[in-house]
Symmetry: C2
Subunit: 382 residues, 2 copies
């Protein structure tokens, strides 16, 4: 094995783990916390709950509510000014990928200066970031575990991937109780995002045995428990999705992703669509595209998805991909691009595919993908 790195935050996992947030902040030396969240989490009562926990520990905070779905460059730059003006010293975010990525973007600018676009790509952040505690409210984005931060460059209408080890937060708090206030749609979209993370990390050209075992664990748990979690809303099954998402995040943070995420970022940046919407449309098409370049690994994915093998490795791989199509269909989510993009906007696909080629995630795809091939995938799933 070539030299490989495996870095994750300290993880505090379990029902009620949110209660540790104050102690975590204190442990990181917090005097004034920069608290990031969004209106949905506020409405669900979790921001107030977190403020009460901080208060109990005698910790001051300033609250930055400037989070939108698909966070924008100007929002994190504004947040960084707010961070500095208020003399904050530790960042806590509670929310989904958008809140946590906003927090990470603020952390980069607050300590490194400049514009967020200066840091696009891999390993371009030099100075250490403020300590971060990230509290995920979904079981999907993995931003609380990962060294990834996705911010939209408004001018270019593209989601930038910023990837660096210093973006791994100090502490990740994963409290499955928070999932109880989530909609069915969000639970499905988050789980499918985690599934895409697990699968793309597994076949990534820089995967390792350390990342692969987490990928397979996540794939198995999501196939097994997502239907039951959606149907029953039982905490036991929701917790399994949290475990799956955490495992998938450990995998993709260290193995990176592939062509599917590259294309998803590019589409998401252009159309401002929710990230979780796109995977049931693209994932299996990209898996078929990759099959010849990752047959053995795809067969292993197939074995886990099907819980058995079917003839040759190639047959198992293909049966696994078919099973995933059926799995997505069982949730009544869009599986064609035309369901989420207007016919009139189809003309932008070429430009979007040209952008996707340059996304950092595309570098670790097992089969190099040109913009023409991306376009062909888009046409296949139109």
């Amino acid at each position: 094995m070539d030299v490989t790195k495996f870095a994750i935050p300290e993880i505090i996992f379990g029902r009620g783990s949110l209660n540790y947030a104050g102690q975590c902040a204190l442990r990181l030396g917090a005097r004034k916390v920069f608290l990031v969240s969004d209106s949905g989490i506020e409405k669900a009562g979790w921001v107030q709950r977190l403020m009460d926990i901080l208060k109990k520990e005698g910790i001051e905070w300033v609250y930055y509510p400037g989070v939108s779905s698909n966070p924008r460059d100007f929002q994190v730059e504004q947040g960084a000014r707010f961070y500095r003006e208020n003399g904050a010293d530790v960042i806590i975010a509670i929310g989904g990928g958008s809140s946590m990525d906003t927090a990470k973007g603020v952390a980069i600018i607050a300590s490194n200066g400049g514009r967020i676009r200066d840091y696009e790509g891999a390993n371009r952040v030099n100075r250490p970031l403020p300590p971060m505690v990230l509290i995920t409210t979904t079981a999907g984005s993995g931003s609380d575990i990962s060294q990834f931060c996705i911010i939209t460059d408004v001018e270019r209408a593209v989601k930038m991937s910023i990837i660096t080890r210093t973006l791994v937060p100090n502490i990740s708090i994963v409290d499955p109780l928070i999932l109880e206030t989530k909609s069915e749609t969000l639970i499905i979209q988050s789980a499918v995002d985690a599934l895409a993370h697990a699968i793309e990390a597994y076949i990534s050209t820089i995967s390792s045995e350390f990342t692969c075992m987490h990928s397979l664990k996540a794939i198995d748990l999501i196939l097994r428990y997502l239907p039951r979690a959606v149907e029953t809303r039982s905490m036991d099954f929701l917790e399994k999705l949290s475990i799956a998402s955490t495992a998938a995040s450990m995998a993709f943070s260290n193995a990176s992703l592939g062509a599917e995420h590259a294309l998803a970022h590019s589409l998401g940046g252009h159309f401002d669509m929710r990230h979780g919407v796109i995977h049931p449309i693209l994932l299996t098409a990209v898996m078929r595209f990759n099959l010849d370049h990752a047959e053995t690994k795809m067969a292993e994915i197939g074995r886990v998805v099907l819980d058995r093998t079917v003839g040759s490795p190639r047959e198992t791989a293909l049966a696994g991909i078919d099973r995933l199509d059926a799995f997505f269909a069982s949730f009544d989510v869009p599986q064609r691009l035309r369901q989420v993009i207007d016919e009139g906007d189809r003309q932008y696909l070429e430009q979007i595919c040209r952008m996707a080629v340059n996304d950092a995630c595309n570098l670790t795809n097992p089969r190099p993908a040109s913009w023409q091939e991306f376009l062909q995938i888009c046409e296949e799933v139109w």
Copy 2:
């Protein structure tokens, strides 16, 4: 799941990863490194190699060679004085469990003061430790990953378990190339130590899905590759043992251990025997002792050990334990206590078993064990 914590260092794994040691030290702010190793590693040339790497990065160091097998309290206290006198700021250890545990003990005293025995047990270290880079030269002890530090209290002739999250080093470097200079005996003893870590962590009362997946991975790899690694000394198989040990360490650091390690520490403290010698003697006896209290999990261990199930869960569990006995026998290592302890010393077993009950590892054993039960286990394997 109750609230569970999962903390590991940043891991740099792979052939040649030793070369990153200097950059790691710089990243942690090193001006003067406190370098810890032992005479065996020195003789094999690894200390000089590491010094060359530090030199290349322009890093100064002081070398502390005061490491013995089963490090003693006075040695780490002496090391801490040496650390302070020399104004060191980052600790690097290269070696097996003894070198790395010496480094950890020095780190505790250098920053927290007092005597090392003040910190025996769980969570008794309050102040942060100096940054640490630990480079393991064996595939077994797991000290480079874990929050454990085992130091012998000379006066009481007992190995103290010191367990706290701050003992997780900042960076762990695992370079399988270093295993090439190891003896067959050491490779076997280290792998069996890792196997005991994986099994005891798996059935620990505070295991979690995060630790369990690492335990099973480690058990599978060791059963599959230890014989081939010993027979061929091929780097491919030695690397598998490094992966197994790293995975087992991620498991036991976060799930703790059990009665077998409690007894092994107590025996090791009294007789100053190598830790790896004791597991083929005790492990399966303690597994049989625990069976009724962890049948489902033992069946899962059996399934991995045998690579199949055999009748009922209990039958699979028992067949797995028998298979482990045969596995140890295949390496021509002692499997009876009388092979490593003189008949004249048998009288000390009662005292040793009374000590074992108080070891922190005994707290997480699935079946509470009294000193009389420990003694009965010792008699069974005499």
